[in-house]
């Protein structure tokens, strides 16, 4: 080989207890390469990248950077070897300015010199990659996209030549994603290497040159992304046949299930709803798009009965809601899947069977005269575990030990068991792998075919476009516009998400 690769990982293995998280993984990255790393949850992507970034040390295997063997024992080691990582959750000081955040961790120079040095480096990086940031802006005021840009600049200032991005587009608008891709292409053209981890196959298809697919800790496939491979093929390589995309029948609209007229909320620091109008019928999935923090959580809280509106009308099945409590909403036939499935939906310390009956423990199925019917509770849990294929060691296992996909299945099973006429689902597939997400989607479509109405709040546009019959876009507590799926495009949804245009 005439030219050593930028990065070469050979035979990387790492065990956690009995689990082989990585089992002899080989991975190379050349200058100018954008490598997609795909795999189901638990396939070993994160472990592999944490090994590269010095969070874990491998049990065996070698890492070479630019042909030189290296031992990476900590993240500062990784940075010293030119490896930078942008995590899914940012590590920034919200109260500090952009410049101050960039100065953290820089040492060895006086503060004044440091400032000038960093300002100069910021200008360089902006010129080379188009990553613009205002040094004096407070990080807490930045959008998610800008915070991510700051994380990237932070890695670049410390001299990263290999950049790892973990689920970088999860919370970005389509326009922000496009901006990120432009910067990544600029990096690749200037001899850097990028490793791009994502569940979103269409983005992996768009940005990467090569894709490595991990399965159960091993490299299952490595393919060149030269136009010869389809998204469907990638999905199959990742998880076999179970990920065939859900097929959607044409909508058969039923009665109006939910009607909101000029709905308003008041909530201290949080953005409130400022006159939301919506109407959803049975047999329909209404997608709610929007950059996070534009009122979607409040909308979800109102429908879930957690947040009483301050004004406006809310009718369910044609009748005004008598009391805004979770129990009342449930009694009206509203199924609820909260955004935070562990913190709000389920209780990690309780047995799975308890979590499955939590909202209905007072009902006669599960208790009588204040005494629990243990047998009925367990039978119900077992039925749901069985019919939803929840992987759990029995109904008495601590709920917190289940994986994200199984937690979501449990939550879904709990709500769907009572045939809701209206299902509220907030970020239902966030963090799930392709197979689990497809499972959830199929259940939604089944409910839709049974004349159920679904309010689907999601930041994943691909999901919204695949499932919704109409897409409502929220911006600053208002519905900007409601688009029919036949005519909606990612571009116009993206503009509406940014507050541009719309009927309102």
């Amino acid at each position: 080989m005439e030219n050593p690769s930028l990065l070469e990982m050979r035979g990387i293995s790492k065990r956690f207890g009995n689990v082989r998280a990585n089992d002899g993984v080989d991975l190379t990255l050349d200058d100018g390469d954008i490598l997609g790393l795909l795999g189901e949850n638990g396939a070993g992507k994160t472990t592999l990248m944490n090994i590269l970034f010095g969070v874990y040390t491998p049990d065996s295997g070698r890492i070479a950077i630019a042909g030189r063997p290296v031992h990476i024992r900590s993240s500062s080691d990784a940075l010293a070897h030119g490896v930078g990582m942008v995590h899914q959750h940012f590590h920034l000081v919200a109260r500090h300015t952009v410049l101050e955040n960039l100065m953290v961790g820089q040492s060895g120079r006086g503060i004044r010199l440091d400032r000038n040095f960093i300002l100069q480096r910021m200008r360089e990086i902006e010129q080379r990659f188009g990553l613009h940031l205002v040094p004096s802006a407070r990080v807490g005021d930045l959008t998610i996209g800008e915070q991510q840009r700051l994380e990237i600049v932070k890695a670049l200032i410390r001299g990263a030549r290999i950049l790892i991005l973990d689920e970088p587009t999860a919370a970005l608008t389509p326009q922000e994603t496009e901006g990120l891709f432009t910067a990544l292409r600029a990096m690749a053209s200037q001899n850097m290497g990028v490793i791009f981890i994502s569940h979103k196959l269409n983005e992996v298809m768009t940005i990467t040159h090569r894709v490595v697919i991990l399965q159960q800790g091993k490299v299952a496939a490595e393919v060149l992304n030269d136009g010869s491979i389809s998204q469907q093929r990638l999905a199959e390589l990742m998880c076999g046949q179970e990920c065939s995309p859900p097929s959607k029948s044409s909508a058969r609209l039923g009665a109006v299930r939910l009607r909101m007229e000029n709905l308003q909320t008041q909530g201290g620091a949080r953005p409130s709803l400022k006159g939301v109008c919506l109407k959803i019928r049975g047999g329909e999935i209404l997608g709610i798009a929007g950059v996070s923090g534009n009122g979607q959580s409040e909308l979800a809280d109102v429908i879930a009965g957690m947040l009483p509106p301050a004004g406006g009308i809310l009718e369910i099945n044609g009748k005004p809601v008598p009391r805004f409590t979770p129990r009342c909403m449930q009694a009206l036939g509203v199924g609820r899947i909260p955004e935070d499935r562990m913190g709000t939906g389920l209780i990690s310390a309780l047995p799975l069977s308890s979590c499955m009956v939590l909202p209905r423990i007072q009902e006669h199925h599960f208790s009588r005269y204040g005494f629990l019917k243990h047998a009925a509770i367990r039978r119900f849990a077992d039925q749901q575990i069985e019919s939803f294929g929840i992987k759990a060691a029995g109904n008495q296992v601590r709920t917190g030990t289940l994986s994200g996909g199984n937690l979501q299945k449990a939550l879904l099973a709990r709500e769907l068991a009572w045939n809701p006429t209206l299902l509220l689902a907030a970020q239902p597939t966030r963090g799930l792998d392709v197979a689990a997400a497809r499972f959830v989607h199929q259940r939604f479509l089944d409910l839709r075919d049974r004349d159920g109405a679904i309010v689907l709040i999601s930041e994943d546009l691909e999901e919204l476009f695949a499932l919704s019959d109409r897409i409502a876009v929220m911006y600053e507590g208002r519905i900007m516009d409601i688009l029919d799926i036949q005519t909606a495009t990612v571009a116009n949804v993206g503009l509406l998400m940014a507050g541009v245009g719309g009927a309102a």
């Binding site: 957690m306 310390a349 309780l350 005494f371 601590r398």
Partner: protein
Amino acid sequence: MNGIRLELRTHAPWWLNLVLPLAAIGLTLVLCSGLIVLAGANVFTAYTKLFLSSLSTPFNLVETVVKATPLVFTGLAVTVAFRAQFWNIGAEGQLLAGAMAAAFIGAREALPAWSLVPLMILGGALAGSIWALLPAVLKTRYKVDDVVTTLLLNFVLYYGMMALLDGPWKDPLSGYPDSPDIRTAAEFPILLRATRLHLGALLAAAAAVAVWLMMRHTTLGFEISAVGENLKASRYAGINIGAVILLTATTSGALAGLAGVGEVGGIHFQVMSGLSPGYGYTGIVIAMLARLNPIGVVPAAIFFAVIITGAEAMSRATGVPVFLADVIQGMSLITMLAALMLTQYRIRVNRTDHE
């Protein structure tokens, strides 16, 4: 390089419930042996006296059970409250409230004799409940910190009681700041002739079973656990958090109140300043040692009763001050809290790479 690190456990094996308290007690005894050495005594003799004297004769054994009775009640009171994360540090005050109600009712000449004991039990439980509801209402209504209010109300009640005992409620016969004795008909029946084993012990055992049944088999127990583990998810599931906390406080206060009823009806027949040598606070240690398991409260309470009764025998025989019993109580709370961490984490010695 080798290192020790803590890893999250996926599940806690059942035997930890047994091993952890024993390990905590063992560690406590090792740590406290330093004090015995400082006092110039033989560690082995001191501990033998401490533990065995209270179990050595049938009489001492019964006395230990008598001592354990109020501790079972306060331990249960704290257990119920802590399961809902209602931090009731006020079992001491609720105990005294129950005791005062019992002493007041037990001395009423106008009441028929047969009604005295049942009325004392009901009245004492009610008084304890009311004293616990006060901080619970403050917490649910106005978000006032329950640790602070429950703790401080102990002093309000204690000094309020002393003011009464030094004034209108002073026993005119003795002239001491004690309440008048209850009527003979109000005294708790003795279960074992020629001992002080009274009805309270039976009530305490029944209470332990009742609390266990409540936590395990009722919707209230289910909701208490849910609220204690995750307030937000409980609210989302439609559980009325305020009602659950108020019911928890009522139950907890009633149990603590019954501890006071037993002491008045079975032992002292009046209230006075030394009625409770901190049973309410010891209840916290007992509840933690029992890992908030109502049945576990019984052996934990007996353990502390052994130490409290054994401390005097140890002191007489070896000269180690009786306060060692208090040190052991405090120390075992600390070691138990440290040990509780091991239910969530496991210690792992990790060896890392040498390729």
